[in-house]
Subunit: 413 residues, 4 copies
């Protein structure tokens, strides 16, 4: 991971990222701060506290002389999954943590922000060689907080979706969630062909920040194929449904078909309506809104994306195909970022030669490399500047609460 | 159910009861208002809304001309279990209802309070015969709200107990929860004998308010027995534990023994401590506090109460025995109310000739007469004036989140 | 418990009871011997082994000099619920015990039978005072084996009911299961009135064998009531269904209504058919057979019996009412035994002054006195001679795999 | 899939395969035929019936004039997972199918065997072009039955392992299960290096039978690496355990670590013993036997294999690495088949250009390509002649009832 010399610019960026998290919860009702809709999700307050815990645990405690950490029990409450750090509060019960109260968490955030500013000053007086690893951790903390900004919004949408009143999250200018306010447009589908051959994928070691799971850059053999110029639309997905997509087992992985039965899936997670009104609406952070046929379909599980692709006569692209196309600069290729995360055909497994980061932060990505699928791109909930073409997002194939959609690929002969 | 003429006194009582509910949540953190620790419990805000729904549904909608009810979806959210009224939000998900926000609920409460005042005025102008049934419903609404005041505190204790920070509920003067602030005292155990014979139990039809399940008053044959003058103490229960009480299956009902294994019960629900400190503490609405050996043991399941009684060479009193003793005026008999609800040996079943109240409020008590056991008395969480010697409280035998303890009885030969 | 002098008659009875168990499984396919349809049921082979274990454990090991018990691990496998004896194989996994094989179990049965014959001889040479308690245990063992004969048939019916082939149990002459081969007959319903007053119920201490839970005989106060002269019929129950009985929550206990929803109950457990054929059939030990409108309805949970009674404008009789009527010798009273067990309004709790039998056999009845309801009478699966008017059978209110039906009662004013 | 002209040799092979299935159950107790230890496993009788159903459904019904199929309900009972064929009996309840009885199933097998012989005759009179697809299905049926022979033994071991008596399966000469009768031998570990580069993997289209998931043969880029000459031994795995392997989260995938906690894993599935005897034994088809330190470790989940490899400083080989090494003919490479299936680092996903077989048999492999990992090689339970170097076996990463072990690989720089 590359690192830059400490600077006013870094401090400014730090403050901006930290402030953005707090902006996201401004305007919520106080009760919303503890809303946890399901075991996979976390309450907004927990996200604000956990990201703070991350900075305190990995930056301030080991590196800032004289830092006084928070109540020791808070470490138990706000550790997410770092086994090397210790035991932790069970994830499904995060919604029960009405205490510490929001004002206590905010006081803590302020204290940690001050500590980080002090640490930056301290690092500015150190030789680059000793400052660099700490700055790399700081960068990781920022990226981590940005990831939680997206999670916070996903989780809030999940939580609100379980309330019959269908509450709307306020409109915020300057973050992703207003993106779809612009009218979706029809967009022709073009197939972008690739002749196959040996390609290179993965993060450039000389480039900027990347997570450990994007490395090492390595060679990969591709067969001839084509990839769609744009994402699949709501209107297209509606045709799949109308054609019996959710009632035809031959379109599904066996595991996905079992889920369709068990959970009664009939449409993407947030589609709404019934009777003549069926699937005319979708639930969103703006509350219930008309489902626009030209908007990219979102909130699909991998199983739904895979079944749709099979029905459409294609398949999902592998992550190597996706990354190769995305970095080709092909003029027809659209909607790589800023709309929805795009399911790929690739299981989330290590790249050849992968080595996790050293220390407890090595638990960040590497230990999740089983039973998950890779998503590429980025969504309208992803904080600006957080996406990358080599970014490997991952979720279990049954998950649907992310802003997830798909782009088609097909064999080429 | 008896009813009184509408009066300033009734209006005053109505306002006092309604205000008391709100006093109970003053001083909580906003997040606490949505805290639901388990499926059996409800969040404080839900209690405030549900009791308001009860008045609106059973009093204002049918009887107050021109009353404009709340958003129709609120009926779905705040109906507890009245099937005759309609479908309802699943109980285990009440904690997800961050909306309507507290201020909306408070506005509703004000509007319903105003409506009730209007209704009282309206009733004052009606003949007694037509006013009486409505006033009886109003009385039921008040009793209902008082029950929820106790539930609110029980549920809050449950919710707080799941937070590793062990939060304390504020000290409130004037409600029951400060009762134990007074130092518990040693109290000798005396046996109060009864020769057996035909007795009468159940609510006096000429008396004041009572629930339908307390009637009809009827005859019952008792065998000779004795009942303890006081409740079982923490110190006595500690001796049971030290004697292997939770490890000896012969002391337990088969069903209770299975629960001991499955749930790992080793002590009353809120006893705390480990190692040399084991069971030196208990969690309470005042937070963690030393366990006082002379305080009545509390937060027992029926199975624990039953096992303790067997170990002690006695048994639980039947509800007929309890009520007969309680209404005897025997000078030695102590601690009937204001400490803990007292488990009895009686399954909760209808009295001979029992008939539920007419209409939807008939669902109040009668439909729960299976798989539950009767508790008698009243606890320090019970609002003042809400207890009665004929009161039949009931809970499933595995429940422990109520302020429940026991009094011994024994056969007499 | 009374005991008789050892005699040829007792040996003969012992042999007859033991032989009857084996007759019940003659003609089954070998695979059927391990059939366990659900956690509450046990495989036929397990019943044959467990009853043998009972005799070996409580009779031969303590009382027959030189008896060599079976492989010590068999005690683990075939102990049902006697905690005082030790750990045991989990009940839901009894169907996995393909070994010991049937022929090994039969060899064991022979060896235990021989041991019991030896023990009887030995007892014949002892003074009555020392023989009596052992003979009482032997009687208990015989009654126990008879109970398991009924359980074996209930469990087999449950197991067969889960096979889409709907297998038929063979026709056996001389045991109860052919009883219904005789054509059911219409039978007028008469109400047998009782004026109320003080009655005595429970087993006569001077009478023959009874279980500990039938004692002591004691006084009980009855209110005026009437009891039906006969059982409820299939045809009557069909009217309840047609009248929306399973769709009207006001007829049900809250707990029962939840079960109706969760389990999708629409009729008694073994009623079959669909479309125009709906409920025209019932599954039985004779396989699928036409549902006869004049046969007593069977395989009801207590919740269904209770809901039916409410719908019919009556209620279930208490066990005291049932026993008082049954022992009155009233000429109109029919169908007390030999058809179905009859749910009562009474929770299964101890009689005043109840004391369980001493030793491990004290676990027989007393530890099940929670969350169960009493059934009275006896069914066509009950071995001849095993019924008694004071017999207290008990099952959880949700159970339906027994031959259980109901008789109505009603208040009398 | 290649096909040969119908011949006496094919008939002979058909008879041999069919007979082998029956030989496997000879000597079982009758009750064992319905033994189903868990939802993932099936009873022996079910395997015998299901393989017969496969031949009848896919061969005889469509292709043999005049074939009279079995009772139509049997199709419901013995369909495994072919949605295109129709509904089916729930997998976890296969153990309840005591009927049809074994003798009925055997009669059916005979009738289907006769039908297959007739079909072969009929095909011999047809032109090759029309016979070939039917012969290909026949070959698939034979391969399918061989797969079930291994499953039958795995499932039986699982079922027996749940019986405290630890029954032993009889010794059968001529099938795999006696393989380990030969004494395991110490075997030095050598590293076989590969320089990386473009390789080809997958089944040769001109070769013999292969499943659809082994095709198409395709190019794959490998990085430099080395693969172990032999499998990991019990003794080596015991060192991992002694070094805290099951107590160190840093060695595990997050999902695997959660399973270790939930299921209490402390050793491979069938290791036995406690105290000073801990892990001195293993349960096997020969019953309990001493655990030999030089025998390959078996009955590991993928998570355990992955954690072991990490602890040992290596990793699992990818399936491309495994197949490349296996087909290299390197003289040092041992234990490719006949011992245990070998977990790989590869998620089970389609090869580039994969197309499932046409028709209902297309459900055979393709629909399981999610949340499973690939195993390569073959075990001592695999029928002789059924293994292939391109064979892709697959199981969920948590499964441990297969004969599964591992071979190490490592990066090479």
């Amino acid at each position: 991971m590359a690192s830059a010399a400490p600077s006013a610019a870094l401090l400014e960026r730090l403050e901006a990222v930290r402030r953005h998290s707090e902006d996201l919860v401004a305007g919520l009702e106080p009760e919303d701060l503890c809303l946890q809709g399901m075991a996979d999700a976390s309450p907004p307050k927990w996200h604000l506290a956990h990201t703070t815990w991350f900075f305190e645990t990995f930056l301030l405690q080991p590196h800032l002389r004289g830092h006084e950490p928070a109540d020791s029990r808070w470490g138990y409450l706000f550790n997410s999954y770092y086994d090397a750090i210790g035991e932790r509060h069970p994830r499904p019960r995060r919604g029960l943590l009405t205490r510490p109260a929001m004002r206590e968490v905010m006081t803590w955030r302020r204290r940690v922000d001050d500590g980080l500013a002090d640490l930056l000053e301290q690092l500015a007086r150190q030789p680059r060689s000793s400052a660099a690893p700490v700055l790399a951790l700081l960068e990781l903390g920022l990226q981590h907080e940005q990831q939680h900004q997206e999670l916070l919004l996903m989780d809030l949408l999940d939580g609100f979706s379980r309330n019959p009143l269908e509450p709307a999250y306020r409109q915020v200018s300057g973050n992703g969630i207003t993106a779809q306010a612009r009218e979706p447009e029809a967009e022709p589908l073009r197939w972008i062909e690739h002749p196959g051959g040996l390609v290179e994928i993965g993060a450039d070691p000389a480039g900027g920040f990347h997570f450990d799971n994007e490395a090492p850059r390595h060679r990969h053999w591709l067969e001839p194929h084509a990839i769609a110029s744009r994402l699949v639309r709501n209107g297209e997905f509606a045709t799949f449904i109308a054609d019996g997509g959710y009632r035809r087992p031959e379109l599904w992985m066996s595991e996905g078909w079992a889920l369709v039965q068990q959970r009664g899936w009939q449409a993407p997670r947030y589609w709404r309506g019934s009777g003549t009104d069926a699937w005319a609406w979708e639930f969103s952070l703006q509350g219930r809104r008309p489902l626009h046929p030209d908007a990219p379909v979102r909130h699909l599980s991998w199983f739904e994306a895979d079944a749709y692709a099979r029905w459409a006569g294609g398949r999902l692209p592998t992550e190597a195909e996706w990354e190769t196309a995305a970095s080709s600069g092909h003029p027809d290729l659209r909607e790589l970022e800023g709309q929805v995360w795009q399911w790929t055909a690739s299981a989330y497994r290590p790249y050849p030669g992968f080595a996790p980061a050293a220390g407890a932060v090595g638990e960040y990505n590497g230990k999740f490399m089983s039973s998950q699928m890779v998503l590429r791109g980025g969504s309208d909930l992803t904080p600006p500047g957080h996406s990358r073409l080599t970014y490997r997002n991952f979720f279990p194939p049954a998950s649907r609460w992310m802003a997830s959609g798909l782009r088609l690929a097909q064999e080429q002969r």
